[in-house]
Structures are given as C-alpha cells and as structure tokens.
C-alpha cells in the first residue's frame, strides 16, 4: 500500500543489516495514519535538518504531576494526525522480564488508543508509549491501572522511575536483591513519583555489583551498587583449570573458547591494586588491599566469586551536564546492608530529601546542591561521619572552614588585648 508521504530520504534507512525502524514503522503505517504522518514528519526533518516538534505543553492525568510528556507538531498543517503526539511513561517491572500476556495487552491497548509505537525502553527505564492525543490520556491510564495492573512512571520535578540490573535473577555476582530493592522503593515512594514536590528530578538506580550494568553511578542521583566486605571466594582447582586452558577465559567474552589463561598477565597484572599473587599453583588474594573492582572475578567466573558478607555502597549526585556540568555519583555510605524492609536505607533517603528540599534551588539536582553547599554539609544533614572512602584525595587547597566550636573563644578576637600586645 502506498503511504501518504513520499519518503525518499528515510527510505535509505531501510537498507543495511541492522533492524530498520523505518521498515518497522511502515508496517503499522499501513493501518495507522498517526504513523503515516510520523514518517512524514521524519522525512521533513531529514530535508530541513531540523526537528518539527514544538516545545512540550503540560498535559497529564488527573492527580499525577508526571508520567506524560506533552508533544505537538509544529506543522499540523502538513501532518495533522500527529498534531498531538504525547508520550506516556509506563513503569516497567523491575529488570524488565515480561510474559507475552502482558506484552500483548500493552500492544492491544496502544494500537487502539495510541500510535502503536513504543520505546522498549526509555533511558530511565520506563516503557515509553510514544504518541497519542490528549483525550486518550485518561483512557489509557484507566485501562493500564484497571486491566493491566500497571501504573505510570515519573517525569517532572519528582522521583523518576527506579531501575536496576537483572541481578540475582540471572547473574552469579549480584550482592544484593536488585529487583526487590527497586520494586520496594518504587512502591514506598509512589507519592514522590507521581506528585512533584522536589526542586528537580531525582533518580535511583541499583546494580548488583561494581560492574554496574545499569550505569547507576553515571545516571542516578542515588546509586545503589552491590558489594561485599569479606574475602573473594576462590576455587583453586578452577584457577588451575583456567591456567591449563580447560575453560574459556572471561566467560568466553573474547570468543577464544577454552584456552590457557596467563593468570599473571591477564589477572594479577591488571588488578588495580596488584593484590593478587599467582605462583602457578595457587592464587592468593590479599583481600585487605582489594578494592572489589571485579576484574579477576570477571576473567575467571568459574574460579572466583564475591564474598558472602554482602550489601551495597551508596553513592549520590550523578547527573547529566545541565546546569553545572556532568557529575558521577560520589560515595556517601561505603557499606550498608540492604535487607527488607530497608529501614536504615529509607531513613537515609528521608534525611537526604529533607536536606535537598529545604535547601534546593529551583532546578537544582542533588549533586549540584552538594557541590554548592559542600559534601560536609550533606554529611552533617545525614548524620554521617566523614570517611576517607568518600574521597579520592583529601583537600589540597588550604581554604579550610574551621569550626568555631573547635577554637577556644570561637570567632572572637579581643581587639583591645591584641593592641596591648601589638602596637598598630
């Protein structure tokens, strides 16, 4: 069937081996005008080298302050079917396992009430239902909650949809129950997620181990990353098997198949703290110097495993560049047990949010606020003691704000007495 708009430019994107989103959209465009016009908008953009969406308006569902991104086309004259093209963010199940039943329900709903296009998934983790009109929003929400047992995710100045790596579900290294934590936090903080009361957005992300497969340290205001406090578990026989070439190194990530692993070169020499010795027979890890970087475990998954005294490191403040430059999260709690009902952690979250909300300027992310007011102030608010694990290096500039409480007489100098000792 011929589509409404000629699209010679984007048709070029049907070529080549990688799945073509244009081919995919075209399947639906044959029966959905929204998709037809969307292809038109895309072609127009490809001609103009400029996008054709207007600045988002505020649309949403009653009682929620987020979950919908309003979007209008700036050429409704040419592309009327996408004059409105709002996005709905649907909170994904933690770690994104699905059964086909729920997926088909989503498809059915979105074909009926939306464009039939989605993002699986958005960068934050939501299921993105891409493109519908204002009048459909409440309908979709109703059906989601009533028929699919699903709810909207976050947008705006509120908690954003938490997400996590698959952790214990299919990974041998997870030190914490990533899905359980993520689901618990999401449910605990439904109000914060749906009703914006924060200075700006706030994100939680949870990875099971320092490999950080959900990129928590780069993308979450609060990054929860699994770790352990005791010793790496070693199966010496398996180490020898790696050395002997019985296993594929690095879980065969290099496609070498079983092949002799040069344990000294590929493991010991790449250990960032050089805390591993290998004498050809036994591997010795000086765990007191291990920084749990995962490298040796990654390379020899059949021989090494994280310890069993597990928990998480909590880091705060990651964000994209706007406004004050990008940040990675910084260590705030070196170790915390993460077991239900996560009271210690939630207590920490409450204090963190209180401080942020009390001091936050409009559109100031937590990380920026810590920058502005100082890590010290943040720790004070959290009632946490300073720990060298929170820093890469102590200060090198001598501009120290000494606490007047530590100074005899505080900030006062007796000027008269001073001038008795020293003539002006």
């Amino acid at each position: 069937m011929a589509l409404k708009h000629k699209t010679p430019l984007i048709d070029e994107l049907e070529k080549g081996p990688w799945p073509s989103f244009i081919s995919d959209i075209k399947q639906v465009a044959e029966r959905k005008p929204m998709c037809e016009d969307l292809l038109g908008v895309m072609e127009q953009s490809y001609m103009d080298k400029e996008g054709h969406w207007k600045h988002g308006g505020i649309v949403g569902v009653l009682g929620y302050g987020g979950g919908v991104i309003g979007r209008y086309c700036d050429r409704p004259d040419l592309f009327p079917a996408v004059a409105h093209f709002h996005t709905m963010r649907v909170n994904q199940p933690s770690s994104k396992f699905y059964n086909t039943d729920i997926l088909r329900k989503i498809c059915e709903l979105w074909e009926r009430r939306g464009s039939g296009l989605t993002n699986m998934h958005g960068s934050t983790g939501d299921i993105i239902l891409l493109g519908t009109t204002t009048d459909e929003l409440e309908q979709v929400f109703y059906e989601l909650t009533h028929n699919l047992d699903m709810d909207l995710g976050g947008s705006g100045s509120n908690l954003r949809t938490p997400s996590c790596c698959l952790g214990k579900a299919r990974c041998e290294w997870s030190c914490i129950d990533t899905q359980a934590i993520t689901t618990d936090l999401t449910n605990e903080y439904q109000d914060e997620l749906h009703r914006p009361a924060f200075p700006y957005k706030f994100k939680f992300k949870t990875s099971g181990c320092p490999n950080d497969c959900v990129a928590a340290i780069a993308r979450a205001d609060c990054s929860i990353i699994g770790t352990w406090r005791d010793d790496i578990r070693i199966d010496q026989e398996a180490v020898r098997a790696y050395a002997a070439g019985e296993f594929a190194p690095n879980g065969n990530a290099h496609g070498t198949g079983p092949s002799a692993l040069d344990v000294q070169k590929e493991v010991c020499d790449l250990c960032p703290t050089r805390c591993i010795d290998w004498d050809g027979k036994n591997l010795k890890i000086w765990d007191e110097n291990c920084t749990r970087c995962m490298h040796c475990i990654n390379v020899m998954p059949r021989a090494l495993r994280p310890g069993t005294d597990t928990g998480a490191t909590i880091l705060c403040g990651a964000k994209a560049p706007i406004l004050e430059g990008a940040q990675l999260s910084s260590v705030i709690i070196p170790f915390i047990k993460m077991e239900p009902p996560y009271e210690e952690f939630k207590d920490f979250v409450d204090k963190m949010w209180d401080w942020w909300m009390e001091n936050g300027k409009n559109r100031e992310r937590l990380g920026e606020q810590i920058q502005r007011l100082g890590l010290r102030e943040f720790l004070k608010a959290l009632e946490l003691e300073p720990d060298p694990r929170m820093i890469n290096t102590p200060r090198y500039n001598p501009y120290i704000f000494y606490d007047p409480a530590d100074v005899p007489g505080g900030w006062e100098i007796d000027g008269v007495a001073f001038r008795k000792r020293h003539q002006a």
Binding site: S23, F97, C171, Q190, A248, E266
Partner: protein, 371 residues
C-alpha cells in the same frame, strides 16, 4: 469497564506501582534466583548461566531498535511463546533476551530468529551484543519526538550499526565497547560516560522572539537557566524580553528548555560532536567521563557518512592497538592523547581544550608527554 470522562474519579486506581517482577520470571529463573554459579558465552549473543542446582539457562540476545512498533513486539511474543514458554526480557541497553532452559531448545530458537527479516531486507533479530563486542547503541528521541534535538537519533544509530554490524555479531574487540547517542546536551542517557558518544550540538545562540518571550516564558527562569549568565533582562519597545550576550553562549540550549521563544535549532549550526573514552563499570579502572574527540561534524541525513566513517576509524584503531581487556579510555590513557590523535588521524583543535569551570584540572602540568 472503561474510563468515564464525566466521572473521572470513579473507581480510580492510582499509585499501584509496577507489576511485580516475579510473575514474569521464567520458571528456571525463579527457581535459581540467587543461585547462579557461573556463565559462559557460547557464541556471540548466546550465553549459558549455570546454577548451583545444576540447572542451566540459555540466553539468546538480539539487537533491538528500541523504537518498536506493536507489530514487532507481537512478533517477539510469538517467538517467546514458541520457544521460551512465553517469557522474554529487555536488557538495560535495549536488547531483547530470549531464554530457554534446555540446550536442545537453543538451535531452533537461533534459527528462527536468524530467519526473520523486514521486507526491505534488514534483519529483525540480529544475534549478538555480548562480550568483547559492540552492543546496542543507547540513544534518545531525536527528530522523532523531542523538541530540543540538534540531530536525529534512530537514523544515526541505524547508520552506525549497519557499519558496525559485524562487531555486534562478533567479539573481536579488546574489551566491550559501549556507544551511546544523545540528541542534545541534556544527554538523556549515559553518553557522558561511554566508550564512544555521539552528541547533538548546536552552534548558534538562541534567537529571541521578543514578541513571544513575555507571553510564553517566565523571564527569571530563562535567565537563571543560563550556566554562563549570558542572558539578561531587556526591553524591546514596551515588551519585556531578554538579551543574550552571544560571546558567552556555549549553545547548551537550557534557555530554550525554559523558554520556547528562544529556539536555537538550525540546519547550518547543528551537528554532531564525538566523545571517547568514558566508562561506567568499576572494573580495573574507575568510572570516567567521555572526552571530546571531534568537535563538529555536520548533519548529513539520511546516512551520516562522515560520522559513520569517523566512528569506524576510531573503532578500528582501537581494535588494532589496544590490549585485551582494555576499554577505549584505558587504551587512550595508556598511549596518551597525543598518540590517540596521531593514530586516529583526528585533528586536535582549540575546542578540545576545556574552558569551563574545572578547565584547569585538564591541563597538562608535567613535562611527561610523547613525541
């Protein structure tokens, strides 16, 4: 039952949160939760995880356009029903994972996936994205949905992945290579910490629609939005508006986010900057930001040839020069930036030298460098 616009609060259900993950676990996952012992990549895109109980789960990872129609999702459902007892998952980088609990079920699944193509010829389910290869490109909306992009997203990703297709399906890289794209400086995605990042940039300051500013913007918010304080309140005749000191503008677009009457998208100004050497994992080296490799490449729809070629050149240089386990940033750290620019034949320009708040921490304060 359906929504009744006249009684919007009737039967209203809110704050139920996401469906519980456990109901979506295939039985082998549920039964072996927390009991996994080790894994192995059998071939690119195919993993086995072995449990302490002896159980095994075989995973086939396929590249997804994360922009997916209901049709392709339904096709995924069909596959999942056929091979995987009706379960499937998505990864954190938008790949799709099909899991089976028996090796015998593996080959039929793989064959089925490989057989499916779009009419125009592209593969629907390329298998790969594991280990020391190039996995799916995390990306954002681009011209398909957002209002602030300087570039498209999906089209560039498609063009780049067509070129790198063999490395999605292979594992010949020294280490994993993570590529990401963001269509503007908001960087919706972890592009600031990617091995290779594709970033949409503007190069013209906003033009100010004085007649609209007062109507559609909150002027103080627009002013506060500017990181370099380039925006000042102004008057045009009777109109309250703003002015921008162009020399101070570094094209972040944050003003436009706050004020629609200050657009800065422009065909001639906009384009792509490439960044390299970021990482997220704590493996070996610590997480790191991506650094500027190429300040500007023009938008070249529909196939972005210069961008594609430049990325390919970086990837090939890395592939041939880095040591095993060395991420792009670790490789550059070892050889030095002067060698990176030499080997990749990229030009070093004034844009590479930082001039924002922490700039001085990026200067070279040692006599150590290479010729």
């Amino acid at each position: 039952m359906a929504f009744d616009p006249n009684e919007p609060m009737k039967d209203r259900i809110t704050d139920i949160g996401p469906p519980h993950y456990e109901q979506f676990f295939p039985p082998v996952i549920k039964e072996n939760y927390g009991k996994w012992k080790y894994h192995e990549i059998l071939e690119p895109g195919v993993l086995v995880h072995v449990s302490e109980t002896g159980a095994e789960v075989y995973t086939v990872r396929v590249g997804g356009c994360r922009l997916m129609s209901v049709d392709i999702i339904r096709e995924i459902c069909e596959l999942a029903d056929k091979h995987c007892d009706g379960y499937v998952r998505w990864t954190t980088r938008n790949n799709v994972e099909f899991m089976v609990d028996d090796k015998a079920k593996l080959q039929p699944l793989i064959d089925d996936l490989r057989s499916r193509k779009f009419d125009a010829g592209s593969n629907k389910f390329p298998i790969g994205g594991t280990g020391a290869g190039i996995t799916n490109i995390v990306h954002t909306q681009g011209w398909l949905h957002c209002h602030t992009p300087a570039i498209d997203a999906s089209g560039i990703v498609k063009s780049v992945l067509d070129e790198l297709y063999d490395d999605f399906c292979g594992m010949r890289m020294p280490a994993q290579v993570r590529i990401a794209l963001a269509c503007c400086l908001n960087m919706c995605g972890a592009v600031h910490c990617s091995d290779i990042a594709i970033l949409g940039v503007h190069r013209k300051p906003p033009f100010i629609e004085h007649d609209r500013v007062g109507k559609v913007c909150e002027i103080p918010l627009a002013i506060a939005a500017c990181p370099t304080a380039a925006i000042k309140p102004a008057k045009e005749g009777d109109l309250k508006t703003v002015s921008v000191k162009n020399e101070r503008c570094m094209f972040c677009g944050n003003c436009y986010t706050m004020c629609p009457a200050m657009p800065l998208a422009n065909a001639e100004g906009d384009g792509i900057a490439l960044w390299v050497g970021g990482k997220v994992s704590n493996a070996r080296s610590v997480p790191a930001f991506s650094k500027l490799a190429v300040p500007y490449i023009p938008n070249e729809p529909p196939r972005w040839p210069t961008t594609v070629k430049t990325i390919k050149k970086i990837v090939e240089t890395y592939a041939s020069d880095a040591n095993r386990y060395e991420r792009v940033g670790e490789w550059i750290e070892r050889i030095g930036w002067e060698k990176f620019f030499e080997k990749t034949e990229l030009e070093f320009r004034h844009e590479h030298i930082d001039d924002y708040r922490l700039a001085m921490t990026t200067w070279r304060t040692t006599t150590q460098f290479k010729w």
